[in-house]
Symmetry: C2
Subunit: 416 residues, 2 copies
Amino acid sequence: MRAEIIFIGTELLLGQIMNSNAVFLGAELMSLGIDCYFQTVVGDNKDRIKQAFETALTRSDLIITTGGLGPTSDDLTTECLAEFFGEELVLDQAILEHIQNLFVKYNKKMAESNKKQALRPKTADVLFNSAGTAPGIIWQKSFQEKQKIILTFPGVPREVKTMWHEIAKPFLIDLLHKQSPNLERLYFKELRFYGIGESDLAEKVQDLLDKNDPTTAPLAGQDECRLRIATKAINQEIANQKIKEIELIINQRVGQFIYGINDESLESVVINKLKDKKQTISLAESCTGGLISKRLTDIAGSSACIGLNVITYSNESKINLLKVKPETLSSSGAVSEQTVLEMATGIINLAKTDWALAVSGVAGPSGEPIGKVFLALIKSDNSFREVKTLDLGFRSREEIRWKTSQEALAWILKTI
Amino acid sequence: MRAEIIFIGTELLLGQIMNSNAVFLGAELMSLGIDCYFQTVVGDNKDRIKQAFETALTRSDLIITTGGLGPTSDDLTTECLAEFFGEELVLDQAILEHIQNLFVKYNKKMAESNKKQALRPKTADVLFNSAGTAPGIIWQKSFQEKQKIILTFPGVPREVKTMWHEIAKPFLIDLLHKQSPNLERLYFKELRFYGIGESDLAEKVQDLLDKNDPTTAPLAGQDECRLRIATKAINQEIANQKIKEIELIINQRVGQFIYGINDESLESVVINKLKDKKQTISLAESCTGGLISKRLTDIAGSSACIGLNVITYSNESKINLLKVKPETLSSSGAVSEQTVLEMATGIINLAKTDWALAVSGVAGPSGEPIGKVFLALIKSDNSFREVKTLDLGFRSREEIRWKTSQEALAWILKTI
């Protein structure tokens, strides 16, 4: 089955919003083993929407659309398809009630225009939207004597995801199985790396990148990278075996740089490791301004291992709260080895945690030398007490802060 | 002039990266007053790339491409266009030297494959890339007896932006002026709102949304919204006058919800207001885990008005550091009016700032009642001392934390 996606909405053409549905739907189609060769973005214009459908239907079997299902006169998807296929639209009582109930639930008055969202073609099924008012449609039509399927989704990413998982994905899996009972699907596993660049990593596993099954592909992230191992198989078990073989080879060569798999992040693996070891940590941040704390507390359940984090931007707060010596600040400066060590000591004494991390640096755009950062990591029993220096050159403020948080989390993970 | 954009790269179809070039180029074309009716995403496949060019050339005068200019065998843009137009490719010595110099500068060995990036069609100009190795090409060709322009860019967003501003934009402005000397360009101003929903806002200015010049369009953000006023004019001065009239009307009706314009954010206007008033603030965060602090310190120069921020997740840290009374925690709980007031008092005593904000709530996914958040804002001279309660219902952990940070920043802005 060959698919393509049409994103409908002038706001996408004008660059007013990021098309995150493209990322979600692209990855989902890939994971079902459905090839997708084109994506088209088209504005809220009847002629051009129909033109996009015509082009897509001549070369693909499955068309997925997002957008154009709202209540306003700019929302044209259903109308265009009905005209294209010469279909009559009828009011669906069940959808209308669903929409009316939503308005009652949120204590809002339903506008007359919302009724439009309850229109559906006489002979097509509804793609129910449990997350919002706009339902999609499952069109199954013949075009140029071939059977075509069109699934229409609204534009809101949260609704697209819900409808995909609840209805569209099971529908497509069922269809694929009917077409070929021994259907192979794409399974994959991502290995996440920190401390090795994308090109270095690619060089170390070049032979795997050239292999066809399983395929291995490098993916770049923000100051980290991933390897995605993918294979087609009829079930998870067979896929796992094939993926396992490649994973072993990668582990042998660059295993020391792997910090996690799939959806894991540096912050989630740090929290999980602290939880496993029943240990706690506290942070004293200066230049990162709460970013490391924010990332760690993004993880649900992090409160079990985080005692107290402080952001001591000013010298006074370093002196008064963390007991950094005024002499240290005047002789070595706020961005120095001695200062971060005293900051770490100060916060561990206050928070009584097993570990403490302190960071001080120049994130810019003012100050000198921009990109110079000191990190201290200490353990309460003094069995670990080290300082790390980063020279992050002339990156932007945002990049310096992010890279510092990456280095800090990776260091904590390796040490604890 | 009618434009369209072709994004070339299989990684886009597979959902492996977000297409941020679409946002940048879409907005830039709009600001030049160039209509763009279609965007197409196509993979690294010769036949399909050529097919995309054919379709685009039949309906548009200006084609912009991103991607496919790298050194690998998957990078096919220049090759496809050369074949499409029957053009011979020649090695450009100046580009080759530029690439070689970059490798010397970064102390890396240039691969043989990089030479490919110095190929250009005999009769076309180079779109120089000062930010990377891959130059683009300015193709000016005849197709179906009409003059067409194709500008090719690499895929890296930073390089696209640099090349756009340095070369492509001036080139296009020049071209537009030649086509019509009294050329009108699109000018716009965005007003940023907090505390009013998109549909409520739209209702209040419905007559403006229906107007053609200037146009006013509502844009939704994450827990905030914007109105974009846009007009075509031959210069900024005339545009400003036309925009000003609309802005005055909006100000009269919903001015109390406007917090900033264009690129401003809640955090940037808070920092600027604190700086203007030479005042300082400190924060004690619990459920937001450093997010408010992180957002405020994202702003360069924020250190002037931020003394000390603490993240007191645990009861012990609230008691020991902020002197919250153990009785308060046991009788009212950590998430209560009394606790946030004591937290705010604790941090203002420690940090000696003019203002203090404290927040405690249940971000989930565990704990009860999820979405209940208390905020306290106090002034050191006790002239302001208030508590605000939020009921954020069953949102996700991330959404609750974000919405809380929005409410906190908007409250600070309104109060100080």
